[in-house]
Symmetry: C2
Subunit: 429 residues, 2 copies
């Protein structure tokens, strides 16, 4: 953990380093990912079978090895502890409600020149959702990816997820049941993204691929950008907590650890105007971390990437927050309004002392797939828009073309495009 | 040109080939682009200077060699033929009006559980617009990229454009003046995209890079996706005209040629239910093409990529149009409504006999930067949204957390994330 004071002479240097720190291995995996994608494109299911045997120690032999049925998902859901079932349902209902409210409106109007103009939103035909295996196999992630697609009106929802050594996660299956997923394929890694983008004999091509994954999955998505639509490439998670000295240190410590326990490369940052409070939080982190089953990950994240910044006044936190452009920003202060108004770059903002980030991970409603690694400067969280596209439209009658056509002819001629000019001129004769 | 009839036994095979035809050299340029980007990242302006001397035969020595001033842009505008100046102004005004109407609304509401939820849209701080040199140096492209950024509220608009052998295009400068561009740098190719994304001593980093370009520019954007926000990777242009037999063959021929004259790899497709009309259009294309100053390009595009498809009834055009997912679709038919309603995948739709595509390139208002190469399946034209991002927000008081917190605790525990659970539990005590 690094402790910085805004008053220290090298603050700008130290803070700049934190802003620029990428916490991601660029790796030299572009070449390997490119080979895997070519292999899947060329050999289809045979390539998937070979790669899944190699990376997941899972043999794709019978149909059951390849996919998980809707029946299995329903059974997994029915087999859940009722409390957990209700929690999943509450989460799904609230996520659905928030995303329904997000649906964009079409436009259709006629302007003064008599030109009818507009835009129409429609869902893509099919979406592929990647659900990671291992540490990050979260049912909440499945809900957060599948529900916006479903609300958007996507016709076919395909999930791919690795099942290392054949082990499936019943919670993920239960979430797939609730979300109404159509197909689940037991394939992971870059090869799964290739199958979704190019299609194979078994796995039909989709139009958009979303969902979190490791560096290989992220690189595959980057390489296939344009072959399919993809959501933002995601890196390790992060939280920025802006807190005054009137918080319970225990609460803020838990918030910082809740991000740290995700990933050793996750980053938790506290900005406060109260140095004594900061010291208390640091103490509580040590005590709490020791008791967590996720101790090792949380400890490593906090030790390697944790930051506490002491400012003189809380308004100094605003420009710092904007440079950090964090995935999650908590405003645990007496009057959050000025901070909320000043923050331009953040994936999601949690307002007030009773809004821990974890509530947004599960049940608040907004999407928990958010831009990481300072990408909130230009990117947004996952939404129904990621599963829709917009067609503009233009309708003119002869009078409308008379009104605006001549200007288009002048511009086409100036650009050296005579057939453009001719296509309008012919109609104005 | 290929002529297909929906009644022919190999129609599906032939049509499938047209759908799958990419018309883009994948090329083996990924490695070269990656080297250029590393060079720009490492050596900054020195790399730009070397690469610009090599690729554009333009020496970046004095400040004037590096950039074009606002003064020069104003002079270029003032020096235009008044008719052209008015045409550019009309175009800018109409594009501005359409894009203002596109600005997204913020959301802010409190639900039954007492949870305040919402989303806030804000512009990115800075945008970089690529304007190609040579054949595709179009002032209309500058307007179509710069105006949505300006309307979105972007603070700094940076243009990069190559000036091969030092030659600048006064029309592009005039458009930059109208659009209120802040900086113009005389750099092109992958190196310009690298400079915009990483920043150099002279050229400040931006948050989003948009604009058309050749294969090198497109590959650079793909590689930098995630370092900056980018718009869709664009390929050669295309038009699909659906026309009945009651059109003037001359009009439709001009429409098909207006796409073909852009690029030898552009594609023009006519679907009609009238074979005799199709033959007339084909004749008119031969006559008109011969008279164009863009003859060579238009002829090559039509010969290599042009398609005429004869259907029995116009409603058969709908599924074909959806598989083609064309950038531009014209509906030159007596009753365009059923076709308009059936078409799910299209960049922009031109309705009626008096809506030639060229009017959309310049003055209609909607953006002319549209998804190509079947990408309208999942992508949309450029809009103010490409220059904005959305932060979600969540506010809870103690009662709201009591209402939804327990479900989040159950899910966090099931996912094996105890600090998540703890951050909520601590507040509910």
């Amino acid at each position: 953990m690094r402790m910085l004071s805004i008053k220290s002479p090298d603050f700008e240097l130290q803070f700049g380093k934190i802003v620029d720190d990428r916490r991601e291995s660029d790796g030299n995996i572009a070449g390997q990912v490119s080979s895997i994608l070519s292999d899947v494109r060329g050999r289809g299911d045979a390539a998937l079978s070979d790669l899944t045997a190699r990376f997941d120690q899972h043999a794709l032999t019978n149909d059951d090895d390849w996919s998980i049925s809707a029946e299995q998902c329903r059974e997994a859901f029915d087999g859940l502890d009722p409390k957990l079932r209700d929690a999943l349902k509450l989460a799904a209902d609230r996520i659905t409600a928030y995303h329904k409210d997000q649906l964009p409106a079409d436009r259709d109007f006629t302007d003064d020149a008599g030109v009818r103009l507009g835009a129409r939103w429609q869902a893509v035909d099919a979406a592929g959702l990647y659900v990671p295996g291992g540490r990050a196999a979260y049912p909440s992630s499945l809900l957060m990816n599948a529900i916006p697609a479903k609300v958007a009106g996507v016709g076919r929802l395909t999930v791919t997820t690795p099942t290392p050594k054949g082990v499936v996660n019943p919670l993920v299956l239960a979430a797939a049941h609730i979300a109404g997923v159509d197909e689940i394929w037991r394939v992971g890694g870059a090869q799964a993204i290739g199958a979704l983008a190019y299609g194979t004999k078994r796995i039909k091509r989709v139009d958009v691929v979303t969902g979190p994954g490791n560096a290989w999955v992220a690189e595959a998505k980057r390489q296939l950008f344009g072959v399919v639509g993809i959501d933002m490439v995601a890196g390790p998670s992060e939280i920025l907590v802006i807190a005054d000295g009137h918080n319970e240190p225990d609460w803020i410590a838990a918030d910082l650890l809740s991000q740290a326990e995700h990933d050793p490369d996750a980053q938790s940052i506290l900005i406060t105007d109260d140095a004594a409070f900061a010291a208390q939080v640091e103490d509580r982190i040590d005590v709490q971390a020791a008791m967590l089953s996720t101790h090792k990950t949380a400890r490593k994240s906090w030790d390697d990437h944790g930051v506490i910044i002491i400012v003189e006044t809380l308004d100094q936190a605003i420009p710092l927050a904007n440079r950090l452009a964090a995935e999650h920003v908590e405003l645990a202060v007496e009057d959050p309004k000025p901070l909320f108004e000043g923050i331009r770059h953040a994936g999601s903002i949690f307002i007030g002392r009773y809004a821990p980030e974890a509530v947004g991970d599960y049940v608040a409603g907004p999407n928990h797939v958010l831009p990481t690694g300072r990408r909130a400067r230009f990117a947004s969280g996952l939404s129904v828009l990621d599963f829709m596209k917009r067609s503009s439209f233009i309708e003119l009658d002869e009078a409308a073309l008379q009104a605006i056509g001549p200007a288009a002819i002048a511009l086409a001629e100036a650009e050296g495009l005579p057939a453009h000019a001719k296509s309008i001129e012919a109609r104005l004769k």
